[in-house]
């Protein structure tokens, strides 16, 4: 059975992780954590607009904006404290891999994509569930925005 194709950038990230040792994967995850963009002012001053991903072990909030059709480009926003680098790292991977995609491409990303990063052993299944929940909530929000 063929793996469903991932969007190009995300597929590149998965390949990068796959080529590394477990310790190097953690270092790459740290780079994603460091690179997670700050919230723009319009959201930073309105935390109530963000949705908490309660499945994450550390506080993580997200929201997104969808441009008008037909493409429905998705812009993603995340907020997580510096003291929670693992959670930030996951958010960074999703931001880098999914931001700016048309909605249909984003919705086609398999729900279990986080497991393709090869981090499950290193970060505990509990944290992987957090990242899967982030992706699930992003996809749900996209569907809601398009339907609205």
């Amino acid at each position: 059975m063929a793996e469903p194709t991932l969007p190009e950038t995300l597929s590149g990230i998965v390949e990068d992780f796959g080529a590394l040792s477990e310790q190097e994967r953690l270092e790459l995850l740290l780079e994603f954590s460091d690179a997670l963009p700050e919230l723009p002012e319009r959201l930073a001053s309105h935390p109530e607009l963000l949705e908490q991903v309660v499945e994450c072990q550390s506080p993580l909030f997200l929201t997104l904006e969808v441009s008008p059709g037909p493409e429905h480009t998705v812009e993603l926003f995340f907020s997580a404290p510096r003291e929670a680098p693992t959670t930030r790292g996951f958010a960074g991977v999703l931001h880098e891999g999914l931001n700016g995609l048309p909605a249909d491409e984003l919705l086609a990303v398999p729900d279990d994509m986080p497991h393709q990063l090869g981090l499950t052993r290193a970060v505990t299944p509990l944290r992987m569930r957090g990242m899967t929940a982030m992706l699930g909530r992003i996809k749900r929000q996209v569907r809601e925005r398009i339907a609205a």
């Binding site: 953690l26 270092e27 995850l29 740290l30 954590s33 309660v54 499945e55 994450c56 072990q57 550390s58 506080p59 510096r82 003291e83 929670a84 680098p85 693992t86 959670t87 790292g89 052993r121 290193a122 970060v123 505990t124 509990l126 569930r129 957090g130 929940a133």
Partner: protein, 302 residues
């Protein structure tokens, strides 16, 4: 040769003041021969974002747990781990971490299973070090390998298994989880995801003393008088009691184990690391729900 204890007068009331060091003490001694600083956190990437200069990381999940059995690593694996971290049998090990040293206490407890003699906690942990503006680095030390002996793990002195707990009824049990987990309202920590226990509640007769009650605002341990009020007063423990502490997987209860053993001087304190994720799922073991400790099951000592 062990390094002399921190003479800080704030520690002198504790039963074993030599088990704690202050941030000042550590800052003055970084790089001393025979001293190894270990960071152990809940967030497995936190060390990488910056750590105390010279500190090595010990990861509870990938390094202290056995990969295939729900158990800790064996003596050979522990010796290999110590060697890789540059720790000798006579090293003074100072452990610190996030969340008021909760995971650091867990690591310290595992070191104790292997009888590592001189292992101490940094009072206040990572947060206090940072709050005081002390330096962090991302530079990872490359310690030279040591010859650490293979020591058989001692599971009888500070560790309890489920059958031990069944035999323990009639003696004090301390449940260190949140009140919601104790009552059975929930089976996981507030703000944490569900981690899979079939039933909510507590081990019958256990007193509820959430672990964080032992910590002050700044993550340091409360003074001895305040700790006695909590554990001897509220929880009703008496000096000399044989005590078992538990939580969800044994990590928070390691913090309480440290308090009872080293700060209050209870000789016989064991940590039941199977904790609620074992007890709450086990066949034919009784639980109690609600805010009251409940009765010991019939047929068991009351």
């Amino acid at each position: 040769m062990a390094i002399a204890a921190d003479p800080n007068p704030q520690f002198s009331d504790y039963a074993r003041p030599e088990r704690l060091v202050s941030t000042e003490w550590l800052a003055e001694r970084l790089g001393t021969e025979g001293l190894v600083v270990v960071e152990s956190d809940e967030d497995i990437l936190l060390y990488e974002t910056g750590h105390i200069p010279g500190a090595v990381k010990v990861d509870w999940h990938t390094e202290l747990n056995d990969a295939v059995t729900r158990d800790y690593i064996d003596g050979a694996a522990f010796a290999a781990l110590m060697s890789a971290k540059g720790i000798s049998r006579d090293s003074t090990v100072v452990v610190y971490g996030d969340k008021s040293n909760w995971w650091a206490a867990y690591a310290l407890w595992v070191f104790t299973l292997f009888g590592h003699e001189d292992v101490r906690l940094l009072n206040g942990g990572r947060d206090k070090w940072i709050a005081e503006g002390r330096g962090l680095t991302r530079e990872k030390p490359q310690p030279a390998a040591t010859e650490y002996p293979v020591v058989e793990r001692d599971d009888t002195t500070v560790r309890a298994f489920l059958p031990d707990v069944l035999d323990h009824f009639g003696k004090p049990l301390v449940d260190v989880r949140s009140p919601e987990e104790y009552s059975g309202e929930r089976t996981h920590m507030p703000a944490y995801p569900e981690e899979g226990a079939l039933r909510g509640g507590h081990i019958p007769t256990a007193a509820s003393v959430p672990w964080a009650r032992a910590a002050a605002e700044d993550g340091t341990f409360k003074g001895r008088a305040a700790l006695e009020e909590i554990y001897l007063g509220d929880a009703g423990l008496a000096p000399g009691d044989d005590v078992v502490a538990y939580c969800r997987i044994g990590e928070r209860s390691s913090h309480t184990w440290f308090v009872l053993k080293h700060l209050l001087g209870f000789e016989n304190v064991r940590n039941y690391d199977g904790s609620w994720t074992e007890w709450g799922n086990a066949v034919r073991v009784p639980i109690a729900t609600g805010t009251e400790p409940g009765e010991a099951p019939s047929g068991r000592k009351a």
